[in-house]
């Protein structure tokens, strides 16, 4: 089961938690095996993230942003971005999206409690599995950096949903299909952006967060099938 600390572990690892919060989380870790497991996984993948090349962004929006702020504020002091980069503390260990996705899957697995949805594995495309109406599914770009645990979780949940879709109202299925396509479109956009700027911390986090959303939706849909059966 997830708790209030599970989404703070990355911050803890980055040393971003204030003293009181850090102590509170450490006290929690002493009693929560699930969080300790997730933290260990995060530590492992953070070591890999530390080896990422520190490249500048392809497109820097700061000039435009600074201009807007300057026009709005009048008294502000805007720092030079290049100087800020030079003064910046050594890069923290942020996680690339495959590691974040792996952590998300780990959290999902922990919170799922039971692996009931893992019983049938058909390898269906997650959207095609839901659609089933002859329409071409929204293509999900092949992940050259495919994360097996994420892909497997998506595949298994989709299979469970496909198996039980007959128990859901057609309108509900339609809504789920539509929403999954929205998320897949967002994932595709994030992946394309990340391909152009693979070291972007924001894009890595955003892609992982969007993938987590897809997992959460599929898990909820599969749970719905379970309730209706």
């Amino acid at each position: 089961m997830t708790d209030q600390w599970t989404d703070r572990l990355s911050e803890y690892l980055d040393g971003e938690l204030a003293g009181a919060e850090r102590r509170e989380l450490e006290a929690h870790l002493a009693t929560c095996a699930e969080c300790r497991t997730v933290l260990d996984e995060l530590r492992t993948v953070a070591l890999h993230a530390g080896a990422l090349e520190d490249r500048p962004p392809v497109h820097d929006l700061w000039a435009g942003i600074a201009e807007r702020i300057g026009a709005a504020g009048g008294q502000e002091r805007v720092l030079d971005l290049a100087a800020a980069r030079r003064r910046r503390a050594p890069r923290r260990l942020h996680l690339a999206w495959p590691q974040l996705a792996a952590a998300a899957v780990a959290l999902m697995a922990v919170s799922a409690g039971a692996g009931w949805f893992l019983s049938s594995r058909t390898g269906l495309d997650p959207v095609a599995a839901l659609a089933g109406d002859g329409r071409p599914p929204v293509p999900i770009p092949a992940a050259s950096f495919a994360e097996p645990s994420y892909d497997r979780a998506i595949r298994d949940l989709s299979a469970a949903l496909q198996e039980g879709r007959g128990r859901l109202d057609t309108a509900t299925v339609r809504v789920l299909e539509h929403s999954l396509k929205r998320i897949d479109a967002a994932i595709a956009q994030a992946r394309r952006a990340l391909a152009a700027d693979p070291a972007s911390e924001y894009l890595n986090n955003h892609l992982a967060e969007t993938m987590r959303r897809k997992l959460a939706l599929l898990r909820r849909a599969a749970a719905l099938v379970s309730v209706e059966s």
Partner: protein, 284 residues
């Protein structure tokens, strides 16, 4: 399990098309209705009793089962099976905890001062009140909440979320819809949507944590003039505007930067992949 003094089974047989029955309950009893297949409207009164009115067919009946700690309302069909389409209107004690779940239909609750858990699949959830835990969920429907406090979780998939006058931890999440939070007094707010705009008007408490994330939509965050916050802004192809004079304290790689307002005590994350992010000063 049916236990305790006062436990019993009350069968309120349908009178034609209508059930209207009132049952006394002890303080602390919670209300449970599951497998809803119709609309349910709940309001409150000061009496320690629940009044159940239901519209259903003449072959169906409504059971109000009083057990230790719970009043369970169930609709039964002709042969004792489940009844599918029943509209309820209940009046319950103001202190009563409510636990409602169903598949089709709207859930509307007014004046609750206890825990509220309400889930539907196809329908809106509209609640005024709720304390302690307020968890509202839908798949296809809007969520509306006003005047709640405690641990507040608002989730839908295809629908918007609109909430005002909230105290406590707030989580609001949808996939395809807008989120509007106003009058929020919280130190912990998370609001995320994939395809929709997000508006927040509330406090930024010292040491608080606030996350507002959309993929395809705009953010409009309105806060008081004097705040102490470290604001992190991230976007891919969107833009940022602020009413506040800002000083950059950290510039991270790519389309992400942060700045400090006041002492920087609260932490605020604003993210939109391709929308407009605005940090607005509340008008006096």
């Amino acid at each position: 399990m049916v236990t305790g003094i006062g436990a019993g089974l009350l069968l309120a047989l349908a009178q034609g098309w209508q059930t209207d029955t009132t049952v006394a309950v002890e303080r602390g009893t919670r209300l449970e209705i599951s497998r809803l297949g119709g609309d349910v409207t709940i309001d409150t009164w000061e009496r320690n009793a629940i009044r159940v009115r239901a519209e259903h067919s003449s072959t169906e009946r409504i059971e109000v089962r009083i057990t230790a700690g719970a009043a369970t309302v169930t609709a039964r069909g002709r042969r004792g099976g489940r009844a599918y389409i029943v509209d309820y209107s209940l009046t319950v004690p103001v202190w009563m905890d409510l636990d409602l779940s169903g598949t089709y239909g709207d859930i509307m609750i007014t004046g609750a001062q206890g825990r509220v858990v309400a889930e539907t699949v196809e329908g809106d959830v509209v609640v005024e009140g709720g304390r302690g835990v307020v968890s509202l969920q839908s798949i296809e429907g809007d969520i509306e909440l006003a005047g709640a406090s405690g641990e507040i979780d608002l989730h839908t998939v295809d629908g918007g979320i609109r909430a005002r006058n909230l105290d406590g931890r707030v989580v609001a999440e949808t996939v395809d819809g807008d989120i509007v939070l106003s009058g929020v007094r919280s130190a912990d707010v998370t609001a995320t949507t994939v395809d929709g705009d997000l508006e927040y008007d509330g406090v930024l408490q010292d040491d608080g944590r606030y996350r507002f994330i959309t993929h395809d939509g705009d953010l409009a965050i309105t806060v008081p003039e004097r705040v102490n916050a470290t604001v992190s802004v991230a976007t891919f192809s969107g833009t940022f505007e602020a009413d506040f004079p800002v000083t950059i304290t950290e510039a991270r790689r790519g389309r992400r930067f942060s700045f400090t307002l006041g002492s920087g005590s609260a932490r605020v994350e604003l993210e939109s992949f391709e929308g407009l992010i605005r940090l607005l000063r509340r008008s006096p």
